[in-house]
Symmetry: none
Subunit: 205 residues, 4 copies
């Protein structure tokens, strides 16, 4: 977020950034706006204003508002999902993987604040929703496979269970963010709930 607000040279001219820098800058600004006011607050105009740049410049970097939002979604979720996957891969058990995943999510959210909650929950505008659905599918499949393998749950059930478990993560984060529990307590509770649920589905199912 080093470039978020002021990007002006001493001469008062807006800084002339390279293409990649400006693009990141736009995404930084958009992230801040989502964090503050949700998707609605992200306007090509509001982004430009906050970036200290002229109205039309955003269109040199993103085809339209939807694509800007989609790019933001991909950047931010990627920064969470990659380390989460890595951390989970290091663990042997489902319980360990759940705990590791939640741990990474807490880490990322600690930095990103309300941004991710909004990114994941908001009623989505077209292009973002597409990305969201794709991401959801990918992650749910991974969890479903783990559940099926470790607990012997049949495929259909394990897919539903994965969906149910994952859909709660934003709420867990929200509980933490609003002071309804410590990170450790919430991690423990959520992990145990998932593990117990998966084990139970495997026993009788």
């Amino acid at each position: 977020m080093s470039l978020t607000d002021e990007t002006r040279t001493q001469s008062g001219q807006p800084a002339r950034l390279t293409r990649a820098q400006r693009r990141e800058h736009f995404l930084d600004v958009a992230a801040a706006l989502v964090a503050e006011g949700g998707f609605e607050a992200v306007t090509m105009e509001s982004v430009a204003a906050r970036a200290g740049v002229s109205k039309g410049l955003g269109y040199a970097y993103f085809d339209n508002r939807g694509e800007l939002l989609a790019a933001l979604f991909e950047r931010e979720t990627g920064e969470m999902d990659r380390p989460a996957t890595t951390a989970a891969d290091r663990e042997e058990t489902f319980e360990g993987k759940v705990r590791a995943t939640v741990g990474v999510v807490f880490d990322v959210v600690s930095q990103k604040g309300p941004l991710l909650a909004r990114l994941l929950r908001a009623e989505a505008e077209g292009p973002v929703d597409e990305r969201r659905r794709k991401r959801q599918r990918v992650i749910e499949q991974r969890w479903a496979r783990l559940i099926a393998e470790e607990f012997g749950v049949d495929e259909a059930t394990s897919r539903a269970a994965a969906a149910v478990m994952l859909s709660s993560i934003p709420r867990v984060i929200e509980l933490w963010a609003t002071g309804k529990g410590s990170r450790e307590e919430l991690t423990e509770t959520y992990t145990r709930m998932c593990t117990a649920a998966a084990r139970d589905l495997g026993e009788t199912g």
Copy 2:
């Protein structure tokens, strides 16, 4: 939905409704619009047009767009939450109550179609979000009490558990709506997950 579209007398005049009827009519129309196109589709103009009434009339019944939406939210969630509570109250066990609640939700969603899904998920405009938060608090507290009492889970944990469980319900409905499982399978899976999780939290916690 009895008044949704045609509210004209045989003389072609707009029907003369009582204040309360007119208000309900507005909400009926708004409900239909949310079901079709989400919150965004609810415009003071679109509502008036569909209600067969002049543009400014809505303001005689609702302070502004936000309040119209909030009133809709309260009416619709109330029509789900009251029967859900009643049904749950008739059951003895947590498992029974979960199953009963989910059953009512499926029933209502079957009738109301996409309306409720949208009402519960959408990125909320201010006044709606207020109501949403309040409703969430009330319902979570009820579930938390049940969990605490039946499984001997401490208060903080049972509140987190209730929040986690409830946050998944929209996803369960979505799975059903998108054909990812039958009503029976999903009810069973979800109920077992909740019950197993609660039981586990009670054992060690």
Copy 3:
């Protein structure tokens, strides 16, 4: 053009016009703008500004810019084509009809100034072009029939001849408007050219 520019009451408020009046007013303003600067000069914004009315009001009367332009085209060409047809119908010979038509065109153009020339010539935006093509087809067919009947010209040739003749009318008007000839001289020359051409095509063809 009585309403063209100032439509304000003594109190300084913009006049509150009936729907039909306001619509006509918009078309009057658009006509003036086309006359001055061609199609490009007609902007929803420029029209509103000249009409002394807020930017968005035009959209309460026309779906979009294209439809405003199309409505203008229909109104203006209709005011020329209806009397032209009537006048032509009163004449017996092709020569008489040509003369009568050109006479009406001159009459209308005298009032409307450069408006019609621009309306008929401009590279058309979609919706206008549609109307233009339709009008052209109708009028050419009428002339073609006359030529075929009076001079015994075969159908294909008479259709081409009608198209050729009619395509020159805007230029005739332009010659007059730029002082390259009197109304009488130009009418006489054009009428004789058409008649001689038609007769010739009938003789050998």
Copy 4:
């Protein structure tokens, strides 16, 4: 059109062109764009993009967009008007000259496709319109002189007649382009119409 698209050396560098070559290349690209989408499609940006060159470079060769379009107009109409004049000069009679001119127009249009039609008809932006008027004046004078000399028509009338005749040529081309007649039929009809008209004006006038 030899340079239209690919102007890169094997090394992938943009080809190093002489100033004159680069200018021609810009005009080639602009011509292609007009042919495809009319004047509106010619953007300093679209031209640069298609030419494989940076956005600002056009301004090193043309003062502004209007001058680029004007240069295109002059180049393209010149390539039609010079052979047309040559061909007409080889003929003795007015009839022959008309036929020869129309022949060249057909030839050029066959190659250039929709480009010329658009160039000649489009609602003109300032600088282009200037050139168009000048060209019109020159060509009309030449035809007027022919009519005056061969048929003994007085000067004013022959100027009007020339204007009338020439204004139909784009329509003749359009008839052909839209399949409303063969090249031979249309040439014959148009030529006879012009000749008969001129002869008639000479007789009584």
